[in-house]
């Protein structure tokens, strides 16, 4: 019996380090929280500067790894749609009945000049494909215990060479992000202001993104509705629907 207890204690000591999450495990868990098979969302991007607020509203659908459709509903952009598929980006401007197909660098561009890229609207995240991760420790953000991660870009194709992320130790939601140049100069900061519970996951509802180089200017991403259990019709991601 004593041999068995000794063996169990020894096993616990040996296996304990394996239970602690590595930086890569945390990044994978973080990506998993933000990955949906299907989703439908409605939201708005509000930009505030010294002249006031600019508001763009949208509806978005996503399916699997690559497919997403965004339809803008605010007055100035009403009816403009963006369809992203694997390796292609289709833009539709209803007033000119213009269908534009783009490939290459256009896929990485931001949506409406905001901090949300078209890639951000798609289903799968694979941060480790573009970044190496290092765990710096833990810190409290608004009373929540967070892993502090440092991500360094592997390629030049990403927008931010360096990222510092505060990832919730329980929900793996990113509460705070700092995005910097390779030399460490801070470019922008992201902070989650409000969260929502969706299908057992904690996700950002209101996030603020501020430009470190521009005072009195910030962008707020507000998700009014998010459904990740919805069965999205594959016909949504077709040219017939895009040009409708």
């Amino acid at each position: 019996m004593s041999k068995l207890i000794t063996l169990l204690l020894l096993s616990c000591v040996i296996l304990m380090p394996l239970g602690a999450m590595s930086a890569e495990d945390i990044v994978r868990a973080m990506d998993e929280v933000e990955t949906f098979e299907h989703s439908y969302s409605e939201g708005e991007i509000v930009t505030t500067d010294r002249f006031g607020q600019k508001r763009s509203t949208f509806k978005a659908w996503s399916q699997g790894q690559y497919d997403s459709l965004i339809e803008f509903t605010s007055v100035a952009e009403r009816g403009q749609k963006v369809l992203r598929t694997s390796g292609e980006l289709y833009l539709f401007y209803p007033d000119a009945e213009e269908l534009i197909r783009l490939q290459g660098a256009a896929l990485r561009q931001s949506m409406l000049g905001s901090d949300i890229s078209y890639e951000d609207m798609t289903g799968e995240r694979n941060t480790l494909a573009n970044y190496t991760a290092k765990l710096l420790g833990t810190e409290q953000i608004d009373g929540r215990e967070c892993h502090v991660l440092e991500l360094t870009a592997k390629t030049r194709t990403v927008a931010y060479p360096m990222q510092k992320l505060w990832v919730d130790t329980e929900t793996f939601m990113v509460w705070k992000g700092e995005f910097s140049t390779q030399s460490g100069r801070l470019l922008k900061e992201m902070m989650v202001q409000e969260t929502m519970e969706v299908e057992g996951r904690t996700l950002p509802k209101v996030s603020t993104i501020s430009d470190a180089m521009k005072r009195n200017s910030s962008t707020e991403m507000r998700i009014h509705h998010l459904d990740i259990s919805v069965a999205v019709d594959p016909a949504i991601f077709t040219l017939q629907n895009l040009t409708w």
């Binding site: 783009l102 931001s110 995005f179």
Partner: protein
Amino acid sequence: MKRFGLFFTLAIMASIGVLFAAATPVVDLQLYHVFSFADTDSDPEFIHLMSPRASVSFKSPNEGNVRGDLALSFSYQDSQLDIGEDPVSVAVDRAYLRVRFPNFRLTAGKTRVGWGDGVLFNAADLLFGSSDTAVDLTNQELRTSTKWLTSVTVPFGPFSFVEAVVIPPEELDFHPRDTVLGGRIYTTVGSLKVEFGGAYRADSVGSVDTGKVVSPYVSLQGNFGPDWYAASSVNVAYPASEIAEELEESWLVSGGLFHMISVGWQGTLTLRLEALVRPFGAWSAQASNDAYGILLYPEVAYVPNESWNFSLRSIVSPIDLSASITTGATWNVMQGLSFHGYATAFMGEQGDLFSWKANPGSPSLGVMVGAAWVF
């Protein structure tokens, strides 16, 4: 066309009250100061005028299987221009109904059908034409003309469809032979977009029917780092004796390159270069300069953030070394409100396609400063 257009415009204006109840109107109001300088052989001419323009669009909600869009535009030409027409004009820019059936889609009304690729030059644009240089480079969209038409689109895959178009004659005293018929197939082959089709119309001199013209085209789009696109079209005429002559006059080849570069963490630099080639066009400078063998359209736009946009657009005629150059800046200052500034200059000698010496309707130098408000 004018009588028909006026009747239709009045009918639409009478129904605006009903439309207000059914759709949310979107108003685009543009007010510009226009300064122009014309270097003529006699005294130089300076003009300063206001150029107001407004458009009202009524779009049906994007719900169900029926939708429509009605857009009217109003513009005012200052009497200084002495254009000999009513200074106030009202036009129907769009007025169409679209119905989605289980296997096809029907569109009827005044709208545009976008064939091929190209911001300025597009040999595949058989139905509306994208080969002339009489465009306003200060407009965001350079080719926006619409026609009364009916089209049917039948999908055969997520990114493939067949389209048929009928464009009736625009004159009231029309003859059925003036109807234009068109069709195209749009699909992808690997990473390549392939589009081909054609248009059919009767050819006439005045009221005399002189034969038939079939215009086939092919358009391709792909990526090798930058995006690229190319198209070619030609008229195949009947009777056969005119085939060679028609082919030489009508053969168009267009192509373009487009690339976006991230600048900083939010800025974007976009580069575009388009070319229009007429293989049997004029390849040396000459007095009749409307069919030069090659024309170029370079465009550079820099968007540092969501508020500012700087652009440089030009139409270049390499044969006679002349160009029209437009540079502009846009400041999106508040919700829907933007300030714009443009300067356009014509560079070239008298008789060139673009000339500093003023031609009727095109000054040597023009500056536009103003604001646009969308609400």
